[in-house]
C-alpha cells in the first residue's frame, strides 16, 4: 500500500487554498459553460462555496481530515445556493464518512471517493451517462480503485488519474443531458461540455498536482 502522507494541518490548508484558487481562476469559464446549457451561475456558485471554505480554513486546519471534509461539505451545502451546493457538499460529506482517523493511504482514499460518489448519486438521483459531474468522478474512482490494487508508481498513478479525468470530461460533450436544468434543452444540450464535469476535472487536477508536488 502506498502512503500519500498524513493529512496534517498544513496539508488541509494547502488543499483548501489550491482548490479555492483554481475555482476562482476558472470562475468565468464555468459560468460561460453553464450559460450554454444551464442557468449561467455555476462559476459564481462554486466560487461562493469555495471562498466560504477558504474563509474558515484556519478553523478547518485544526480538525482531523474527516471532520474538515465534513465541515467543508456542510459549508458548500449551506452557502452555495445552487444545485452544485448539495451535490459537491454530498461528495465531501460522503467522503468524510469513510475517512480513517489518522494516516490516509491511496487505497483508503479510493474507498472515500466511492462513498462520496454514492452519496452524490443518491442526492442527484443520477448516474453516469447523464452529462453530469458523475461522468468525471465515476471513471476516475474506478481507475483509482483498480490502480491501487496494482501498487503502481504513485507519480504515474496521479498522472493517469488526471488523464482519465480529462478524457471523461470530454465525453460529456457528446452526451445529451437527462438530469438537471440542461435536460430541458434535450438534444440541444449535445455539443457542450458539462460545467459540473468541468469543475470535477479542475478539482481532481488541482488535488493531484498538489499531491505530486508535495511528494517530490
Amino acid at each position: 500500500m502506498i502512503n500519500i502522507h498524513s493529512m496534517n494541518a498544513q496539508c488541509i490548508n494547502l488543499l483548501i487554498t489550491g482548490t479555492a484558487t483554481c475555482i476562482e481562476e476558472h470562475r468565468e469559464l464555468l459560468t460561460e459553460l453553464d450559460s450554454k446549457i444551464g442557468d449561467a451561475d455555476h462559476g459564481i456558485n462554486m466560487s461562493r462555496g469555495f471562498q466560504a471554505i477558504l474563509a474558515i480554513s484556519p478553523e478547518l486546519s485544526e480538525l482531523n481530515f474527516g471532520e474538515a471534509l465534513k465541515k467543508a461539505g456542510m459549508t458548500l451545502l449551506m452557502k452555495v445556493g445552487g444545485a452544485s451546493g448539495p451535490l459537491f457538499g454530498s461528495l465531501f460529506i460522503g467522503m468524510s464518512k469513510a475517512t480513517p482517523q489518522k494516516e490516509i493511504n491511496l487505497k483508503e482514499f479510493a474507498v472515500m471517493l466511492e462513498t462520496g460518489i454514492a452519496d452524490v448519486k443518491k442526492r442527484g438521483k443520477s448516474d453516469v451517462g447523464e452529462k453530469t459531474m458523475l461522468d468525471v468522478l465515476v471513471p476516475v474512482s474506478i481507475l483509482l480503485s483498480e490502480e491501487v490494487k496494482n501498487a503502481a508508481d504513485k507519480k504515474q498513478l496521479l498522472q493517469n488519474i488526471v488523464q482519465q479525468a480529462e478524457v471523461s470530461l470530454e465525453t460529456t460533450r457528446l452526451m445529451q443531458a437527462t438530469k438537471g436544468r440542461a435536460s430541458y434543452l434535450g438534444k440541444r444540450s449535445i455539443g457542450h461540455l458539462d460545467p459540473g464535469a468541468m469543475s470535477s476535472f479542475l478539482l481532481i487536477k488541482t488535488i493531484c498536482d498538489l499531491l505530486n508536488n508535495n511528494n517530490e
Partner: protein
C-alpha cells in the same frame, strides 16, 4: 411568517425566485386562512435566483408542527435542496415532512385548502397531487347508499364543510360520488367533495368500510336529507 395554531398541516414553498415564493405563499394564505402554518424560501442568500438550503431549513423549523409539513418546489434543484435541508432535521421530524411534486402554485393552494379543512399529512399531499385517495380499499361488494340533494345550492362550500367535518368524525373509510359518475372520492376531503360539484337534485352515492361504517353512512345521509341543517 408566524402562526399561532399548530394542528393544521404546514405548507412550505421553495422556489428559485423570491417573488414566486412570496406570491405563492400569499395565494395559499388567502385561501387557507390564518390557521395553517405557511413558510417559504425563495432565491439564493445573496438575493439572486437560486435555492438556499439554509433558508429552507429555517423555514421548516419556523413552521414545524406535529401535524407535518408538505413541501412544494418549482424546479429540480429546489427539490434536491429541500431534501438536503430535511435531512438536517431530527429523524422524527423528517418522517413528517413530505415533498410533493405537484405544480407549485396549484399544488400549494390545494394543500392549503385541504389543510385548512383539517386534512392529515397524507391527505393534504394526495389532494395536492390530485390523486385518488385509497379507492382500492373499497371493494365492489360494498353496499352503495343513495341520497338526493335537496339543499337549494347543493353540496357547495358551507354544506361541503359540514359534510366533510361529519365524515371526519368516523374512523371508517368513506367514499362519495355522483350517481351519474364513476369516480369515487374521499368523503373527508373538502377539496374532493367540493370538486364533485353536486348540485340541487343530484343523487349522491355513499360507501363506507371499516370501523363505524354503517353509522357513518347513516349520519351523512341524514345530514344531506336535512339540507345540512340549514
Amino acid at each position: 411568517m408566524n402562526i399561532t395554531m399548530r394542528n393544521n398541516v404546514g405548507v412550505m414553498i421553495v422556489s428559485h425566485s423570491l417573488a414566486i415564493a412570496t406570491g405563492t405563499a400569499e395565494m395559499v394564505r388567502q385561501i387557507g386562512g390564518e390557521n395553517i402554518p405557511i413558510s417559504y424560501a425563495g432565491g439564493s442568500a445573496d438575493g439572486g435566483l437560486g435555492t438556499d438550503v439554509e433558508a429552507i431549513l429555517k423555514g421548516l423549523q419556523e413552521i414545524w408542527t406535529e401535524a407535518g409539513i408538505v413541501v412544494f418546489y418549482d424546479l429540480g434543484s429546489a427539490e434536491m435542496s429541500s431534501e438536503a435541508a430535511i435531512e438536517l432535521l431530527p429523524e422524527t421530524q423528517q418522517k413528517k415532512i413530505k415533498i410533493c411534486s405537484a405544480p407549485l402554485v396549484e399544488g400549494a393552494v390545494l394543500a392549503g385548502v385541504e389543510s385548512c379543512g383539517g386534512g392529515d399529512l397524507d391527505q393534504v399531499k394526495l389532494v395536492a397531487e390530485k390523486r385518488q385517495v385509497s379507492i382500492d380499499e373499497i371493494s365492489d361488494t360494498t353496499e352503495t347508499h343513495r341520497v338526493t340533494i335537496t339543499h337549494p345550492i347543493g353540496l357547495h362550500a358551507r354544506p361541503a364543510v359540514k359534510f366533510t367535518q361529519l365524515a371526519k368524525c368516523f374512523e371508517a373509510n368513506i367514499q362519495v360520488k355522483l350517481e351519474e359518475q364513476t369516480i369515487w372520492v374521499d368523503a373527508k376531503s373538502i377539496v374532493r367533495v367540493m370538486g364533485l360539484k353536486a348540485r340541487h337534485n343530484k343523487v349522491l352515492n355513499l360507501q363506507a368500510t371499516g370501523i363505524g361504517a354503517p353509522e357513518a353512512v347513516n349520519q351523512l345521509m341524514v345530514l344531506v336529507k336535512n339540507n345540512f341543517g340549514e
